[in-house]
Symmetry: D2
Subunit: 331 residues, 4 copies
Amino acid sequence: MSVSIGLLGAGRIGQIHARAVPGIAEARIVAVSEPDDAAAQAVVDLTGARRDTVDGIMADTAINAVMICTPTDLHAKQIEMAARAGKAIFCEKPIDLDIDRVRACLEVVAETEARLQVGFNRRFDREFMELRAQVEVGAVGEIELIQITSRDHAPPPIEFVKRSGGLFRDMMIHDLDMARFLMGEEFTEVFAVGSVLIDPEIGVVGDVDTATATLKTANGRVAVITTNRRASYGHDQRAEVHGSKGMAAIGNRRATMVSVADTEGYRTEPLLGSFMDRYAEAYRRELATFVAALESGHQLSPSGEDGLRALELADAALRSMHTGMLVHLGA
Amino acid sequence: MSVSIGLLGAGRIGQIHARAVPGIAEARIVAVSEPDDAAAQAVVDLTGARRDTVDGIMADTAINAVMICTPTDLHAKQIEMAARAGKAIFCEKPIDLDIDRVRACLEVVAETEARLQVGFNRRFDREFMELRAQVEVGAVGEIELIQITSRDHAPPPIEFVKRSGGLFRDMMIHDLDMARFLMGEEFTEVFAVGSVLIDPEIGVVGDVDTATATLKTANGRVAVITTNRRASYGHDQRAEVHGSKGMAAIGNRRATMVSVADTEGYRTEPLLGSFMDRYAEAYRRELATFVAALESGHQLSPSGEDGLRALELADAALRSMHTGMLVHLGA
Amino acid sequence: MSVSIGLLGAGRIGQIHARAVPGIAEARIVAVSEPDDAAAQAVVDLTGARRDTVDGIMADTAINAVMICTPTDLHAKQIEMAARAGKAIFCEKPIDLDIDRVRACLEVVAETEARLQVGFNRRFDREFMELRAQVEVGAVGEIELIQITSRDHAPPPIEFVKRSGGLFRDMMIHDLDMARFLMGEEFTEVFAVGSVLIDPEIGVVGDVDTATATLKTANGRVAVITTNRRASYGHDQRAEVHGSKGMAAIGNRRATMVSVADTEGYRTEPLLGSFMDRYAEAYRRELATFVAALESGHQLSPSGEDGLRALELADAALRSMHTGMLVHLGA
Amino acid sequence: MSVSIGLLGAGRIGQIHARAVPGIAEARIVAVSEPDDAAAQAVVDLTGARRDTVDGIMADTAINAVMICTPTDLHAKQIEMAARAGKAIFCEKPIDLDIDRVRACLEVVAETEARLQVGFNRRFDREFMELRAQVEVGAVGEIELIQITSRDHAPPPIEFVKRSGGLFRDMMIHDLDMARFLMGEEFTEVFAVGSVLIDPEIGVVGDVDTATATLKTANGRVAVITTNRRASYGHDQRAEVHGSKGMAAIGNRRATMVSVADTEGYRTEPLLGSFMDRYAEAYRRELATFVAALESGHQLSPSGEDGLRALELADAALRSMHTGMLVHLGA
């Protein structure tokens, strides 16, 4: 089987994913649905795809997979449409900002036995992959403590913040998923605090820009996440896993390793400034893995369930921030 | 004025401090009070001090300063004795495990206008000093987030754990003081979780061995501390301060910078294994600073108030861990 | 103009270059000349090129550029053919192992006003590019000393060594070119020593496997190069430029930044094992730059003259090794 | 036996050594010979030593060791005097700038069976000690290549340069000794080049300020040393040993590990600015080792022979620089 893809949505993230496809021998984008002419044309030029409607794509039986990159409030409905149309689905996170809507959507996915991969791109970053690989081969022994630092270079536009679902559901959700990915055990307790320190406007629209969450598993293992919307020195993404035998950690990559020493000391360049540069390779590997799994019949991962769990943690963190209390999950 | 010191207590920490004194030109230990003969003799051999009783030392008007290195439950009483005897006081942390006892003791200190320095040795470590210096010159701008990682190489004997006051009051108190030292603004909210992951015996005696605390100031600035009792690779002490302009951070020092590369990769040696090695220089500078302040008339720091504040934070963290709720301080 | 390329030679290095072309919008390989069927077919499959002879390619006026990746002893002749056929030329280093043959070839290039770029791929590595950029903006002031360390992961097969022209002309020539690239001033004196320490067979065929060269410019600036054929920990490529104001240096990149700490210390993975992995991006940028210069009319660089100069230095180093004397160039 | 030391010369280096002695339990300086009153008094104040003449010290049978820190041209004579007086000798490098004078002096040492340690302080630096220890336990396998980078922070006063014996005998001699210390095999061939790039005045007095030497053993192992008189970023001292199994390397230590990241990138402080700071601990260990060996009867190291060999290499390097030829030693 080769993978014929219909692309739903060709905005910023849709373009990122579209660019990954020509490098994958077994896949091509054959149709794109996107209201903006320029954005749609960019995909057409890049891939030779035809422009089409969402319905047209769903109805085309030659299309066996869709990539959903539309605005968040369309994700769940389009997942359901694609599931019912028998298409494999790659959907950008989150499935929906409302957890009940996510659950309903995943029921359709389950009923239709649709194959669904959710877009937690960091799982495909070679640093995080190798970090987890070290954990899995036992380099740190039994995990005791995970620390994740996640700082964006600069806050997004306030219009984006308004519709984003907030720091926990938009940004920290990546870190929450990463904590799950590394821990290999579900978290049952969540505590969080948040502050508005970077931009008062973010507070005005009801969000925070700086937050930390503490998570605990039933076995008492702990994860601590600190997230904020600005780091002058670039997109700062670090993680460490500490356990009974030792620690595995990842630092940041820079564009180059050049250092300059003079009377002021030693200096190296700032980090890459955007998540798109930082995770360029991860985005490519994410889609290549999606296609390879479709080819091989392997299970898609991260799954809709992973998307749900991360959102549950984000919601719990938000609730904890508002109540000042540890939130217990599950049961 | 030259400083004639009476040393109260010559156990492990007393020996550490005693060894610092011969290197300070303006100070000498003239008397030592210690029940254990071997420990006392070690100080006598090192310094030429006479053995004496606590009362004898307090009564000796030629002694103008005491170093209190006795078991914790004697600290407050001996501070009061020394304060009333008009002696300057260096007291190992904590002043007492009971916050009310600390407050009562500090009232005596205030009434007698005694000069008191509390033993938060990390404030005298050149790494932490330089980190704070960078913060003070504005290298990070307005502080937003402090992260402190503090891991002991191996847990102390269970007998020590029992009497220690617990992880928060014994070990994390250093990190809480450091968070205050770096933040330069009081914390008003504390949340903490703790787990027993390293040694079940620690749980049996009612303590935890792995903990994390989140602290917030009235302005919304945040500090996150993770502390545990074991790191196979050595005594791990790191901190970073993140602010509006950037980040300042300290890593760990090793005994040497030697790296070896072979087919397995690159490796460097583990960290120093004990806080005594890690902070050897800090212990010396701590006492040298105490003596210098006595000579110059400068204010002693960290003060009894600093000791009290750190204990309040430790108590709040403990209470939060037990209740699962954010604890509000002050007012 | 778009660039239609004829590929001469599709062995290991030819494949590397062929793979870079599909990523360059303005260029495509339209014909390939290669006696080995499998190798030729790989290029055909990748690019859609036709198989052809060298003569056929030279005669095809629709082909406006050739990439010469044939065995070294064919380079000079094919450069001359292409020059006379009015084609732009990318030729793998070296132009020839015999300096007089190189000079004769470059005369033809000059007469025909052919455009020629020689394959010193490291000039297109982002680390070395940024190192030079730092030098050019004056970060180190006036250059005083350049140090280059260049170690291959493992020696090539002895059959390769025999035909390679020897360590200086095959391997160190890259470092000699890099020294010129960084110094920006010609070297006038060369001294070198060499040893057989890795594999006695290398000595049997008259070559060395470990060598160091010292070069000096007329102004007394110095470059020191150490090169050898084996580093257990990977392909080790470092350089530093020291000057009146300070130093700029590059280290090695690893596949990931993951570190693991345990009782044995801290470790990171070995370096990338092959120059093909290490310089994968540089090979792509090298050809993209070639194509871009053809499009823009900018001068091709590194030029045939650069190829000649590097070979002169390699020959001088070889002569110095044999005589134990400083060799003076030029005049 | 306890070690009663007579100090000959209390200038800059004499003061450094004098300060190390009070920290050594088994040793004390009992007499000091120094024409400058202030310098002598500093030692008297520090150690309680008496002032005396060289002859007085030599005649005092209660003095069983001398530390020779006088100007270089007095070293050989004072070594001979002390040897004949039956005293153990610590002598600052070099024994003399004239190799024949060194040989004559060492004959007296041999005849009198005097115990002599020469002041190559870097052998007592923990970085270099651990580097050698790694080599000795086989971490790099058979040594193939040693690279030493040695840069002073700033050139010494021109008056010092004039009397110093020149860059090779004054400064690079430390690196030559280190190369011998690490290689564990004698060098038989030396080549060197030198330039005046930092200060023309240094050229006027017949010296160079930037130099590199290449050394080879009879087995073909190679050492490359680059040395210069100025590095804006501090006292730069690095070494790496490469062998059949891998590489061991040392970098530089800074006063602190603090890094600051902002829009300009990451920066750390410059290196320590002077050899006195960089090697403060090494100077203390050097003398402690001298005293311990006197106590235990162990052989003193580095020996007079080590001093001779390093000077032979320095002289050979100087000769090579002047002739442009590889200089063969020994036979």
